[in-house]
């Protein structure tokens, strides 16, 4: 290997941190759904994909910044999540993992190909955003869109953390995650908690999608990358709550940055998935998790 330019390395690591924050946000919804409901959702990445297209449509129709569409897409996605829950997920609660995977792969196929039918294969980007200026801090330059995406993600993670620890709904969710039967005995309406959890988890992907659209484009195959990535983070973060997800997302972001620096952009996914292998092999219960 060639010698690595330290300033380039630093630059890439900073990029990795901000990307990692966004990854944490992408994975957060999945971690909630898997943690609270024990549902294996293979379509999570495709929720992000649908969110990206919805952002594209709203932003270009109303000529607003893609990041601002989150105020509209998040509530829409909350409802969308509850509808999906009622139509499909509720029927496979507690079913064998294989069945859950099959059903959510079916959902993924529907969503992906719906996107393909409506928008065709060429990626769709929003041509305007307020975050175009790069920001320079000493030796480091960062795209403002990335900076904003990272900061907003961090704030969202913080808010969800507060929701889980401080509010009645959050406590009900955590109790359900701990032990469904005990939660039921405590008078928690578990089915309702599930619906809300699925809605919340889904609406978080809409926020992530809006942020992604400030620097990237929507394409029908986005789901695979973000889906696998989210599962990698959940595998690492275990069910260690928001903190676990945040730490794992950051690690993945930094590993990705190191891979790009050392081997090149082609090695990006390679490094993430190799890490995934080793995490699963040696820490089957997640680095920061309990289960």
């Amino acid at each position: 290997m060639m010698a690595i330019d330290p300033s380039l390395l630093l630059q890439n690591i900073v990029n990795g941190v901000f990307t990692g924050l966004l990854y944490s946000l992408v994975a957060l919804g999945l971690a909630l759904i898997f943690g609270v409901m024990d549902i294996i959702n293979f379509a999570h990445g495709d929720f992000v994909m649908v969110g990206a297209y919805l952002t594209f449509v709203l932003a270009t129709t109303f000529m607003i910044d893609p990041s601002l569409t989150a105020f509209i897409t998040m509530p829409i996605f909350f409802v969308f999540g509850i509808v999906i829950y009622k139509l499909i997920i509720e029927r496979v609660l507690g079913a064998e993992p294989l069945i859950q995977i099959a059903v959510t792969v079916g959902l993924l196929m529907v969503l992906r190909n719906l996107a393909l039918m409506i928008f065709h294969a060429e990626p769709k980007g929003v041509p305007f955003t307020m975050f175009t200026q790069p920001i320079t801090l000493g030796p480091i330059t960062i795209a403002s869109s990335r900076l904003v995406a990272g900061i907003v993600s961090l704030v969202a993670l913080g808010l969800v953390h507060m929701l889980l620890t401080r509010t009645k709904w959050g406590i009900a969710m955590r109790a359900t995650a701990d032990d469904r039967e005990v939660a039921e005995l405590m008078g928690i309406n578990v089915k309702r908690v599930y619906a809300v959890t699925f809605g919340l988890g889904t609406s978080l992907t809409a926020l992530a999608a809006a942020l992604i659209m400030t620097f990237s484009r929507a394409d029908p195959y986005l789901g695979l990358l973000y889906g696998l990535l989210s599962w990698v983070i959940v595998a690492m973060g275990g069910l260690g709550g928001v903190i676990g997800v945040l730490a794992s997302g950051l690690i993945i972001g930094i590993i990705e940055a190191l891979g790009i620096t050392i081997v090149g952009a082609g090695a990006r996914e390679l490094f993430i998935y190799l890490t995934f292998f080793f995490i699963l092999w040696f820490r089957p219960r997640g680095l920061f998790g309990k289960r």
Binding site: R91, A102, V105, L108, L111, R112, E269, L270, Y273, F282
Partner: protein, 334 residues
Amino acid sequence: MPGVLAKKLALTKERLYGLIGLAIVLALVPVFLGFNFYYVLLATNVMLAASLVAAWNIIGGYAGQLDLAASAYMALGAVVTGHLLASYGLTPWIGMFLGAGLAVTVAVLVGYPTFRFGIKEVWYALLTSALVVILMRIYYLIYGSFETYIPHMEPEWLYLSFRRYEVYYYLLAAMVVIIIWINLKIKSSKLGYYLAAIREDELAAEALGIDVRRYKLYALMIYAALAGIIGGIYITLTGILSYRLFDPWLGIVTAVMGIVGGLGSIEGAVLAAVILRSLEEYLRGAIGATYPGSHLLVYGLILIIVGVLKPEGLASLIRYVKNKLFYRKREEVK
């Protein structure tokens, strides 16, 4: 006489007749299609899917491991066969076995620690899906986005370099029959019983003396070898070597067809592959051009419906039809 043969092949008479019947039907398909170039190609694609799903059934259906890496093992067989053919003129008849050898090696390298650390269910599924991407990226680092074309070579039989699709069709149809036979043979053997026990309850299986990791690894190796050979045949058909052979999506679709077929039922798995793949080709022809992706959308809907309403899959339907056709007393012991 057929009784003796059935014993030799370790199949019940009923199964042997079924297999022979299937072979005859498959042999006649190109005739019914009037040896139409395009239709035979479609039928070849259907056979490709059916053989891959039949191979998958060993790890997915019998051993109950949700493996999503069928395309990885197939691609390994394909790239080994293809590169040896394109660069050194090695006949694919040898190349496909070397390819299968590499597929088995990778399967062991990945499978050993994976089973050793007790990785199951979602995590196994994700890990195998990630394996496809990893192999794709490694191939990409070596060969780049570059596509290598295998030229036409004579003699045709030695290099499997035919200008018509019929031969490929028959090769893959033969693979379908052979792999179904292997499935049936496994099912009625000690390995089959052990895999079924592992699928149902690993701890109970282990407490009855089954070395769970070892038997899972056996299943994985057989499946990887078969997928590798299928890949070796496939590459002589397409002749294009590319990183795109490592297709995570194909790995998922293969498992999906096996699941729709009903886990552990080889008849169901192959039938599902044939129906879904034919349907896909039909829909692609009928509406796919106007609405790209619509055929896969229908696919997804079927999967949701099967999963939500009939998690037993097509196998339960087959069982139902069978019971109607040959009604036998259930209580009777064979």
